[in-house]
C-alpha cells in the first residue's frame, strides 16, 4: 500500500517509574496493514510499551512518528506532545483493554456513539447508523439497547472493540483482551480480531494466545526486561527462537496451556 514511510515509527522509547526503568530504549516500525504480536513474561514492559504508543504513559525519552504527529518525548523538547495533540492522537488510535471497561450507565449503542458524537461531532443519525452497522458486524445488533451488565464477557469485549472502531482509527492496540474471559468466550473475540486483521486493519496486540499470534500476525516481538529481545515472522520467532530466554518462555507458556487443556478435560 504505502511505499516508504511506515504508519508508526518509534525510536529509542524509554520509560521509568521512579528509578525503575521499564522500557530501555525500544524502537519499532509498523507498516500500514501489519499485525504485530507482542509476547513476553509478566512485567517485561509489554503493556507499558503499548500504552506509550497512545501516550497513556508518557515516555521520558524517544521519538515517535504517526501520521501527522511527530513527537520527541524528551522533557523540554520543542515537539513534546501537548494535551490537545494527545487527544487528537488518541482519537486516531483505538485501544482495547483486558477489562472491557464499557460504561455501565450507557446502553451498548450509547457506548459506541458517544465518542464519535462528542469528539468528531458526527450527527446523531449518522453515528447511530454507523454504530448499528458495527454492531451487526460483531453480531450484537439485537443487544444495542441493552446495558453492558446484561452481556457476557465476550460480548462486552466485542462491544469494546466496536466502540474503538467507531472512531475509525488507523491503528488498533489490544492489551491481553482475552485474558479476563472464560475459556469458552475467548474464541468469539479472537475471531473478530482475525477478521479485522483480514480487512487490513493495522494492529498491535499483546497476547498469551500463541496459536493466534502464529496464525494472524505478520510479526512477533518478544519483550524481555524492557528490551525487544527478539523479533521476526511468527514462524521463525515461535518455532525457532534464537535466545534461550525466549525458548524458556515459550516452553513455559506451552506447558501451561497443556496443563490447562488437561484440566478442562478432567
Amino acid at each position: 500500500m504505502t511505499d516508504g514511510a511506515p504508519l508508526l515509527r518509534l525510536r529509542e522509547i524509554r520509560k521509568s517509574f521512579g528509578t525503575f526503568e521499564v522500557l530501555k530504549g525500544v524502537s519499532l516500525d509498523v507498516a500500514q496493514g501489519e499485525v504485530v504480536s507482542i509476547i513476553g513474561a509478566s512485567g517485561s514492559g509489554k503493556s507499558t510499551f503499548l500504552r506509550s504508543i497512545n501516550v497513556m504513559e508518557m515516555p521520558q525519552a524517544g521519538k515517535m512518528d504517526f501520521g501527522d504527529f511527530h513527537f520527541d518525548f524528551r522533557k523540554g523538547a520543542a515537539s513534546h506532545p501537548t494535551k490537545v495533540q494527545l487527544q487528537k492522537l488518541r482519537a486516531e488510535i483505538g485501544m482495547v483493554f483486558q477489562s472491557y471497561n464499557l460504561w455501565p450507565h450507557m446502553t451498548v449503542l450509547q457506548n459506541v456513539i458517544h465518542a464519535p458524537m462528542t469528539l468528531r461531532r458526527t450527527p446523531r443519525a449518522q453515528a447511530v447508523e454507523e454504530a448499528e452497522a458495527l454492531l451487526a458486524r460483531i453480531g450484537l445488533y439485537e443487544k444495542r439497547d441493552s446495558y453492558p451488565a446484561r452481556l457476557s464477557g465476550g460480548q462486552q469485549q466485542r462491544v469494546a472493540i466496536a466502540r474503538a472502531l467507531a472512531m475509525k482509527p488507523r491503528l488498533m492496540l489490544f492489551d491481553e483482551v482475552t485474558s479476563a474471559l472464560d475459556p469458552e468466550l475467548v474464541h468469539e473475540v479472537l475471531v473478530l480480531m482475525a477478521s479485522l486483521a483480514a480487512d487490513g486493519m493495522t494492529m498491535l496486540l499483546v497476547t498469551h494466545e500463541i496459536a493466534f499470534a502464529r496464525d494472524v500476525s505478520s510479526r512477533v516481538l518478544f519483550f524481555d526486561q524492557g528490551v525487544m529481545a527478539e523479533q521476526g515472522p511468527p514462524d521463525r520467532v515461535l518455532r525457532n527462537p534464537e535466545s534461550p530466554r525466549l525458548r524458556q518462555f515459550l516452553h513455559r507458556i506451552l506447558h501451561d496451556e497443556m496443563t490447562r487443556t488437561t484440566e478442562d478435560q478432567a
Binding site: M56, Q87, K88, R90, I93, N101, W103, P104, H105, A115
Partner: protein
C-alpha cells in the same frame, strides 16, 4: 385543644403553608449551593496543586468541626463587621449550603473512589479530555452511587433550616414561635411544625426512592 381543629386550620393553616413553602425554597437553594460546594471540594481534593488540595481539606475540616449554628452566626452577624451585610434569607442559604457542602464533598469523594480506573482510561484512550471524561463518564456514575447518601444529606439540610429561626428567617419554627407567644399553646404549635416537617421529609424520601428505582431499572 381550645376550639376545634378545623377552626385552627382555617386560622393558622395559610400561615403555616406559607412558612412551609419558604422552607422548601430554602432547602432547594441550599441543596444547589451545597452540591456546587461539595463537587468543587471533592474535585479540589484530587487536584495536582497542593494549595488547592489544602484549601479543600481546610474547608471540610472547619465545617465538620464547628456547629452549624456558629457558622450561620458568622455569616449573618459576623460578616457585616467586615462590610458584607446579607439578608437573613441569603445568609441562611449560603451558610447552610456551605455547611452541607462539606458533607456532600465527603460523599462525592467516596463515590469517586468507587469508580474503577478503567472507566476513565477507556475514555481518555478514545481521545476524551479530562473534563469531558469527568462530566460524561465519571460523574453520572457517581451520582447514581451516591443518590441514597445525598438524599440523607438533603433531609438533614431540610431539618437544619429550622436553625434559621435564630436569624429571623420566618420559616416554620419562627412562625410557630410568634403564634405561641400570642396564644400560649406551645404543645399544639410545635406538634404542628413537627407534622409538617414529617410530611416534607417523607415526600423528599419518596422522590429519592423513585429516582433510585428508576436508575436500578436502567442497568
Amino acid at each position: 385543644m381550645n376550639g376545634s381543629l378545623l377552626q385552627d386550620i382555617a386560622a393558622y393553616g395559610p400561615g403555616f403553608l406559607k412558612a412551609a413553602w419558604l422552607v422548601l425554597w430554602l432547602t432547594l437553594l441550599t441543596i444547589l449551593v451545597s452540591w456546587a460546594c461539595g463537587l468543587l471540594a471533592a474535585l479540589a481534593q484530587r487536584s495536582d496543586l497542593r494549595l488547592v488540595r489544602g484549601a479543600a481539606a481546610f474547608y471540610i475540616w472547619f465545617i465538620r468541626g464547628t456547629p452549624a449554628l456558629i457558622q450561620i452566626f458568622i455569616i449573618y452577624f459576623g460578616l457585616p463587621q467586615l462590610g458584607l451585610r446579607l439578608s437573613p434569607f441569603t445568609a441562611g442559604v449560603i451558610a447552610l449550603g456551605i455547611n452541607s457542602g462539606a458533607y456532600v464533598a465527603e460523599i462525592v469523594r467516596s463515590g469517586l473512589s468507587a469508580i474503577h480506573r478503567g472507566q476513565t482510561e477507556s475514555a481518555l484512550a478514545l481521545g476524551f479530555s479530562q473534563s469531558q471524561t469527568m462530566r460524561t463518564i465519571v460523574l453520572p456514575q457517581v451520582f447514581r452511587i451516591i443518590l441514597p447518601s445525598i438524599t440523607n444529606e438533603a433531609i438533614s439540610t431540610l431539618k437544619n433550616t429550622s436553625l434559621l429561626s435564630t436569624i429571623t428567617v420566618v420559616e416554620l419554627t419562627l412562625y410557630a414561635q410568634t403564634l405561641i407567644s400570642a396564644t400560649f399553646r406551645p404543645f399544639d404549635f410545635y406538634i404542628a411544625v413537627a407534622v409538617i416537617y414529617l410530611v416534607l421529609t417523607t415526600v423528599l424520601t419518596q422522590i429519592a426512592n423513585w429516582g433510585e428505582r428508576r436508575y436500578a431499572r436502567l442497568s
